[in-house]
Amino acid sequence: MAEDVYKPGNLLTSLKRHAAAIATGLRYLLSTKRMTVRYPEFLIDLGEGYRGMIRWRRERCISCGLCAQICPAAAMKMYKLPGEKKMFPGINYQRCIFCGFCVDVCPAFALEHTPVHDLSYEELDEMIYIPERFDTEWVSPALKEGARPVKVVFDEEVGLRHEPK
C-alpha cells in the first residue's frame, strides 16, 4: 500500500500528490450522489428486524413477569390494574435501552419490536407507559406528517442509496 509516503519526495511528486488530492475532492464535490437522507421529508423504512419502540399486546400476555425480570435498565415493571387479579407490564422509555431482551424472553409473543424510533416527548411523564397506554399501535410522527418512506440499498458507488418505497 502507501509505502512511498516514507520516501523523501521532491517538488514534482509533491505537486502531483497535491493535484491528486484536490482532484479527488473536486470529483466528489461535483458528483450528485449523496448518502444523506433528508428527514423528515423522507424516512428510512427500517423493516421488521429493527429494535424500535416495543409493542405490547394485552390479549396475548400471560403475566409471567419475565420481561420485568430480565430488563437490564429496570425500564419494564409489572403494574397492578384496578379490578384485575393479574399484573401486567408497563415500560418507562426514560430508561429503556432497546436491548430487546424482554422481547426475546417473552414466551407468549406479547411483546414485539416495531421499526418506529423517532418519537419525542414534551413531558417526562409521558414517557412512562402504564399497561393501559402500553397496548398501542406506534406510528412514526414523520410518517403521520407525510414523510415519504425510503429503503436502504447497498451500492458499490455510493455506499448506501435510499430508494423510494
Binding site: 509516503v5 431482551f101 447497498f154
Partner: protein
C-alpha cells in the same frame, strides 16, 4: 533588552515571559490545559507544559467519564452486564462484550456452536472496521482535514447499516450472549456485505489520494510521535499502536478464539512506530477485516446458533419461531445464570487493542467481581511518552494517531 525609565514597556518580551509563568531561574514553562470538555474524542484533559513551542511534558488527566462500571457489574445478573459493558466502547460493542461473554462461558462450562462463533467473528470484524473508521475520522479532523472526517464517518454508516441488518440495532447490538448469538444471518446479507466491501476498497484508494499521500498529512505524520518496539513493550501498549512499533502481537492469534483459527488473515506490522505507521496499520487492518468477512461468508457452517443446553428449554412453539424467523428466543432460566464458584479470565482483540476480563464468581446469580482492563486505558500512557520533546503543533497529530477513546479508558 532593557528599557529606559521607571517602568518596563509593555512590548518587552520579558512582559510576555512573565505572563507565561517564567520561574526565578529563568526557565519558562507555560502550562496549558486542553479540555476537559470534549477536546476531540471524548471528555478528558491533557495538561501540557510547554517551553516555547516544545512540549516538556503532557499529562493525560482522565476520569471525566468514569461510570463505576466494574462496581455496577457486581449488582447485576450475568446477562444484564452485557448491555452495561457495551457502553464502555459504544463504537465497538461486539468486541467488548465478547470478552465478557467468553469469561462467563468459561465459568458456565459452555461453548458456542460453530455457526455462532462465525457470526460473532463476523460482527466483530464489522465493528473493527467501523471503529477504525471512527478513529480515522477523528484523526482527520484533528489535522483540520474536515473532508476526511466527513468521509470516514459517512462510510462508517455503511458498516453500521450492515451491523443493523444482522442484529437489529445500529450500535448497541447486545448480540453476543453466553451460549451463542441472538440472530441468524439474514438471507440477503451476503450480497449486501460484498457490495459494502467493494465500495470500501474503492474508497480506501480515495482516502489514500486525499489524505494518506497528501503532502500536508505526510508532513504532519511522518516521524511524529515515534515509539520503538522496546519502549512499547515496556509500557504495555496494545493494539494497532503496538503493531505500528514493530511488535507482532494480536489477541486473535495469541488466544485463538472464535472462528479465527479457521480463517486466513495477516497481522499488519510496521517498524517505524510514528503516527503515519499507526495510520497505515489501521488502514491495512480494515483491508484484512474485509478479507475475513469474505471468508466467513464463504465458509460459515450450518447449524444451531445457540447452545443446546438452553435451546432445549424452549417450548416447541418458540422453537418453531426461532427456526422460521432466525430470531432467538431466550428461556426464562437465562435470566438467572448461576455459574459454579471460580474465576475466569478472557481476552479479545478489539479495534483499539486487547481487552481483558477477569470474573470472580461466588456461585450466586451475580458476579462477585468483574475486572475490565480496556485497551484505551493501557494506551493512555502514550500521551506522556510520545509528546515529550515534540512541537506543540504535533500534539493533535499524536492525539489523533493514538485513537484514544475516553469512555473506554475510564469505564
Amino acid at each position: 533588552m532593557t528599557s529606559q525609565g521607571s517602568s518596563e514597556p509593555r512590548a518587552s518580551p520579558y512582559f510576555w515571559y512573565r505572563l507565561m509563568g517564567r520561574d526565578e531561574e529563568g526557565y519558562d514553562v507555560y502550562e496549558l490545559f486542553i479540555g476537559p470538555q470534549h477536546p476531540a474524542s471524548g471528555h478528558m484533559r491533557i495538561i501540557v507544559r510547554l517551553d516555547g513551542d516544545i512540549i516538556v511534558d503532557a499529562e493525560p488527566d482522565i476520569g471525566y467519564v468514569h461510570r463505576t462500571m466494574e462496581k455496577l457489574a457486581e449488582g447485576r445478573e450475568y446477562i444484564k452486564n452485557i448491555p452495561l459493558f457495551e457502553r464502555a466502547t459504544i463504537i465497538d460493542a461486539a468486541n467488548i462484550t465478547w470478552g465478557y461473554v467468553r469469561a462467563v462461558e468459561q465459568l458456565l462450562g459452555l461453548e458456542a456452536p460453530p455457526r455462532a462463533e462465525y457470526l460473532r467473528t463476523l460482527l466483530a470484524e464489522i465493528n473493527r472496521i467501523a471503529s477504525h473508521l471512527y478513529g480515522f475520522g477523528i484523526a482527520g479532523i484533528m489535522l483540520n482535514h474536515s473532508t476526511m472526517f466527513m468521509w470516514a464517518f459517512g462510510d462508517r454508516e455503511v458498516w453500521v447499516q450492515l451491523a443493523e441488518d444482522l442484529t437489529g440495532a445500529r450500535l448497541t447490538h447486545s448480540y453476543i450472549i453466553p451460549g451463542g448469538v441472538r440472530r441468524n444471518l439474514p438471507q440477503d446479507f451476503r450480497e449486501k456485505a460484498l457490495k459494502a466491501i467493494r465500495y470500501m476498497e474503492k474508497r480506501l484508494q480515495d482516502y489514500e489520494r486525499i489524505f494518506v499521500k497528501n503532502p500536508v498529512i505526510i508532513a504532519r505524520y511522518v516521524d511524529v510521535g515515534v515509539i520503538k518496539a522496546d519502549e512499547a513493550k515496556r509500557l504495555g501498549i496494545v493494539g494497532p499502536n503496538l503493531r505500528a512499533a514493530g511488535v507482532r502481537y494480536d489477541a486473535r492469534i495469541a488466544e485463538k478464539y472464535g472462528a479465527y483459527p479457521e480463517l486466513e488473515f495477516e497481522i499488519p506490522v510496521r517498524e517505524e512506530g510514528d503516527a503515519m505507521a499507526r495510520l497505515l496499520v489501521r488502514i491495512e487492518e480494515i483491508r484484512q477485516s474485509m478479507s475475513i468477512i469474505k471468508q466467513i461468508l464463504d465458509k460459515i457452517p450450518d447449524g444451531p446458533i445457540f447452545h443446546e443446553k438452553y435451546y432445549r428449554m424452549l417450548p416447541p412453539k418458540l422453537k418453531e419461531f426461532v427456526e422460521s424467523t432466525g430470531r432467538l428466543k431466550l428461556p426464562g432460566a437465562f435470566i438467572r445464570l448461576k455459574p459454579e464458584p471460580g474465576e475466569a479470565v478472557a481476552r479479545v482483540e478489539m479495534g483499539h487493542g486487547e481487552v481483558f476480563y477477569h470474573i470472580v464468581s461466588d456461585g450466586s446469580i451475580k458476579p462477585y467481581r468483574v475486572r475490565v482492563i480496556t485497551p484505551a486505558f493501557r494506551n493512555v500512557v502514550l500521551y506522556r511518552y510520545l509528546t515529550r520533546g515534540a512541537r506543540f503543533m504535533d500534539l493533535p497529530a499524536i492525539y489523533g494517531s493514538i485513537d484514544y477513546f475516553p469512555p473506554e479508558g475510564d469505564r
